[in-house]
């Protein structure tokens, strides 16, 4: 009795198993809704050359010319009358330009007040005047139209007047920090 009916039972069991397997495979196409959005804190994304930090967020940011090497590791570097820098920005929108420069008393005493002009991709965007020794923080939003994609963004920092030296390039201001920064999404 048992042996006669069992093949039928086994057959049904196998059918159930096959059904389960197929339904499992079918689950591959399952779709899910967007989950609850976690409130992760926003943080700054910096495309900045910073003499005070060991590394830059954007390693490809670079000085093209006009900034003297920070060979003494004092955390500051002299600029030449025309400093050129380059930044690879991954998008055009949302950037703030930032710079920290220091006017040096000895230079100002001999050369008089200095004017520092910042240009982005050939367009002048900011002029700062240094009358006395001290550090100046510069920060302003950058129009998306100025930042061409996907080419790198050129920044020119022109300083007048500077202090000529008997040997070597003239000394202008000390550049501590320059670049672009934005908030993450």
């Amino acid at each position: 009795m048992l042996t006669r009916s069992f093949p039928q039972i086994a057959c049904r069991a196998r059918l159930c198993l096959a059904g389960l397997c197929l339904s499992t495979i079918a689950c591959r196409d399952v779709e899910y809704p967007v989950p609850a959005q976690l409130s992760t804190p926003k943080y700054r994304i910096d495309a900045v050359l910073d003499r005070d930090r060991a590394h830059s967020s954007f390693p490809e940011s670079s000085v093209i010319s006009g900034v003297q090497p920070d060979t003494q590791h004092y955390g500051w570097s002299w600029t030449n009358p025309r400093a050129i820098l380059q930044f690879p920005l991954n998008q055009a929108e949302g950037w703030d330009f930032t710079a920290r420069i220091t006017g040096i008393g000895d230079v100002l005493a001999k050369s008089g007040p200095q004017t520092v002009t910042f240009s982005i991709n050939g367009q002048t965007v900011k002029t700062a005047r240094l009358d006395r020794a001290g550090t100046v923080e510069i920060e302003f939003p950058v129009s998306a139209g100025l930042l061409t994609q996907p080419a790198k963004t050129d920044v020119v920092m022109a300083t007048q007047p500077c202090l000529a030296q008997a040997s070597g390039p003239p000394l202008c201001v000390v550049l501590q920090r320059i670049g672009f920064t934005r908030e993450s999404f």
């Binding site: 042996t3 069992f6 093949p7 039972i9 086994a10 069991a13 196998r14 159930c16 198993l17 389960l20 397997c21 499992t24 495979i25 689950c27 591959r28 196409d29 399952v30 779709e31 899910y32 809704p33 967007v34 989950p35 609850a36 959005q37 976690l38 409130s39 992760t40 804190p41 943080y43 994304i45 590394h55 967020s57 954007f58 390693p59 690879p88 991954n90 998008q91 055009a92 929108e93 949302g94 998306a144 994609q149 996907p150 999404f185």
Partner: protein, 741 residues
């Protein structure tokens, strides 16, 4: 008292199985010789008792009193019926063996039985035993049956033998599980000898039985809560009943043969080739007999009863894990509980244990020991087993050996030879005895040498370096004259960390425990580094704060001509041996992000179960393909309504930078590849990353980390605990328990 409990549990399981086996064989009108009954009644009953416990565990009825009541009822039924059994039908016993042969068998058998019993009765501290063979059983006992174990893939393995462990654990706790496994080791030689007598090679049976029984790896495995020796016994019993059917044309022998074949799958998935062997054996023999009833009936009988044993475990896995063969074949049966990639990694690892190549296996498995255990130098003579092919018995053994042996190449650890070893040992016995003139002397010498070489104290003389073998035997400990707790605290580093978990961790809170896997002596849920998808996710998440290539973000921006579509895919254009991981995906039209809406639907070609991690606004959670990335692996977003898009922003770990991603949009009823320009920016690990990782672990319900000081990154936890936001709650045996604040 502990000793009595262990012994009671062991004898209870043995007699419960024997009684069940007796009842089955009586229903089938089998009559076995007295010498055959010790083993085959026991083995015929093992699947039945295991199935009964499976049923109780499925219905959450695992209560000690119920187990005892059911067991006692089965035993009483068997006793009552045995008194009514017509003894005159019983076949005549074989003539006794000569005194010399009896001494050759009984002397080493009893000496090693003493060693094995003392060893098995010691505290159970084997890695796999405390990890899952007993670890999970202890949890089942707590829960009164099966429960959802999402964090340990071993819960998906067939647990046929473990169901007997469950009875043993209920009655005698941890050590009783090892002594129940020992039952199989102690009885299997009688089964091998019984078959040999029927096959007309009784002396080869003694030689083969002892070669198997005395092998160091068999002794080690059979005296701890593993299942390899039990599986060997199950497979051999199946073979015996098949031979009974074949030789004596007893169709009813196919019932226990089928049950045992199916049960072999329930014991160990690699033993499932026993079903294939049994199926082919029955089909071929039936065809050759040209029986009137045809091939179908015996095959259906066999397969039917095999299914009775195997299918419940498949159903359990299908229901619990969505994969009837979990934790294998996850590529064919995708599920959220284990990544196919981890399965592939494990396969690779197991196919080259300790870097041993296939050509090195004969040496390493017999003497070398790099495969975690040795069969003993005598098995260097294994090629002599080929001499047995000149006899019918030898050919029958060879036919059974091959299919049982073949899965060994999927895991070349020495103990994975055990299921096929009885066949090899018997064939070797026949081969040795068949050598003219010196055969018998050689066979007896081989056995005696095997016994001498396998004795634990003697193994240091010939085995190079560390061997996985019996090495901690103490009759004082076996009799609990030395406290079990003292032993565990002094000699087993994993014991006290378990107690630490019970002391500090609240029930239900998960612990990331990459260096301690024992589950038998504590009650908390632990995650390792690979034993489930959740564990792998926790491990990689942890590494994000340790390993710069994982912690640094690779921001991609894909720009393409504006397209209006309701579905968009990111398609891999790279084939690599790593998985594809994406932390965040955002879509934008020019400078405006397209806000995520509830109407969006997300899916992926692989591991769709975790696709939401790429859209949860957390850069330390990630969707993974869970399998090595292929060309064409995709992640899909359906917007619900057509949207204009011309930018996709993707955040990934830096190690993913080599995998090219191509956007595709659903346009005019087909997927269209979008010509995109990619801009990539590396963002270094954020100063807050450790805390972000901590928060993500907490979202995975992991509130604790238990880590040995030697584990990768443990020094970072110690040095930067304030930056992780964790507090050390305890330290023991080089493990520290950290609470995630």
């Amino acid at each position: 008292m502990t000793v009595l409990r262990i012994l009671f549990a062991t004898f209870f399981v043995y007699w419960m199985c024997r009684a069940a086996g007796y009842l089955l064989l009586r229903v089938l009108s089998f009559t076995l010789r007295r010498s055959e009954r010790y083993f085959f009644e026991f083995l015929a009953g093992v699947p039945l008792v295991s199935s009964l416990v499976f049923l109780l565990a499925s219905t959450h009825l695992v209560y000690t009193r119920l187990l005892v009541t059911v067991g006692a009822a089965i035993m009483i039924c068997a006793v009552v019926l045995s008194r009514r059994a017509p003894e005159h039908n019983r076949p005549a016993e074989y003539p006794p063996l000569s005194l010399t042969w009896r001494i050759v068998f009984w002397l080493p058998y009893l000496v090693f039985a003493g060693l094995y019993i003392v060893t098995a009765m010691g505290p159970e501290i084997s890695p796999d035993g405390t990890g899952y063979h007993v670890g999970l059983i202890a949890r089942y006992y707590e829960h009164r049956g099966f429960y959802s174990v999402a964090t340990n893939q071993f819960a998906g393995l067939g647990e046929g033998i473990e169901m007997l462990f469950l009875i043993a654990f209920a009655l005698g706790r941890h050590s009783a599980t090892a002594t129940v496994h020992l039952l199989f080791l102690l009885t299997l030689p009688f089964g091998m000898m019984a078959w040999s007598r029927r096959a007309g090679v009784p002396k080869a049976g003694i030689i083969g039985a002892l070669l198997f029984y005395l092998a160091p790896v068999v002794g080690k495995d059979g005296t701890i809560a593993y299942i390899d020796v039990a599986t060997a016994a199950v497979v051999f019993a199946m073979f015996f009943f098949l031979e009974l059917w074949r030789n004596e044309q007893l169709e009813r022998a196919l019932v226990p043969a089928g049950i045992l074949a199916g049960f072999a799958y329930a014991c160990k998935i690699t033993a499932s080739t026993a079903i294939i062997y049994a199926f082919l054996c029955v089909a071929v023999v039936s065809i050759r007999r040209r029986e009137k009833i045809g091939v179908l009936r015996p095959v259906a009988l066999l397969v039917g009863f095999a299914s009775l044993m195997a299918v419940p475990w498949m159903l359990k896995d299908a229901i619990q894990f969505g994969n009837p063969f979990f934790p294998l074949f996850n590529h064919w049966f995708p599920n959220p509980y284990q990544y196919p990639m981890v399965e592939m990694e494990m396969r690779r690892l197991m196919m080259s244990v300790s870097g041993v190549t296939f050509s090195q296996i004969p040496y390493q498995a017999t003497i070398g020991g790099k495969l975690f255990g040795v069969l003993g130098p005598v098995f260097v003579l294994a090629p002599l087993a080929l001499l047995s092919l000149r006899t019918k018995a030898g050919r029958v053994l060879a036919l059974a050996f091959v299919p049982i042996f073949l899965p060994y190449f999927t895991n070349i650890g020495a103990r994975f030879l055990i299921p096929s070893l009885p066949f090899l040992a018997l064939a070797l016995g026949i081969g040795l005895l068949s050598i003219p003139r010196i055969g018998m002397a050689l066979a007896v010498t081989a056995v005696l040498a095997h016994a001498g070489l396998s004795w634990p104290e003697n193994m240091n003389a010939w085995s190079p370096g560390f061997q996985w073998r019996i090495d901690q035997t103490s009759w004082r400990l076996a009799l609990r004259l030395t406290s079990e707790k003292d032993f565990l605290e002094k000699f087993w580093p994993d014991y006290k960390p378990g107690l630490l978990l019970d002391q500090f961790v609240a029930p239900g809170e998960r612990v990331f425990s990459p260096g301690m896997g024992q589950m038998a002596y504590h009650h908390r849920e632990i995650l390792g580094t690979w034993d489930s998808a959740a564990a792998r996710r926790a491990f990689i998440t942890y590494l994000m704060a340790i390993e710069e290539h994982l912690g640094a973000t690779w921001n991609r921006e894909l720009r393409f001509p504006t397209v209006t579509t309701d579905r968009i895919r990111l398609v891999s254009d790279t084939k690599m041996d790593t998985d594809l991981r994406i932390s965040e995906v955002r879509f934008a039209l020019d400078s405006t992000e397209i806000p995520r809406r509830p109407a969006w639907r997300l899916t992926a070609s692989a591991n769709p179960f975790e696709v939401q991690y790429a859209f949860d606004n957390s850069s330390v959670s990630w969707w993974t393909s869970g399998a090595p990335v292929e060309k064409g692996t995709w992640l899909q977003t359906s917007f619900g309504t057509p949207s204009s898009v011309n930018r996709v922003l993707i955040a990934q770990s830096e190690d993913q930078r080599w995998i090219a991603l191509q956007p595709e949009a659903w346009v005019d009823g087909k997927w269209t590849s979008l010509r995109s320009r990619e801009t990539d920016v590396r963002e270094p690990p954020r100063a807050t990353l450790r805390m972000e990782v901590r928060d993500e672990l907490k979202r995975l319900n992991i509130h604790w980390i238990l880590m040995p000081d030697t584990f990768y990154g443990a020094d970072d936890l110690r040095a930067n605990a304030p930056y992780w936001g964790i507090t050390q709650m305890g330290e023991v045996n080089g493990f520290r328990l950290w609470r995630l604040n």
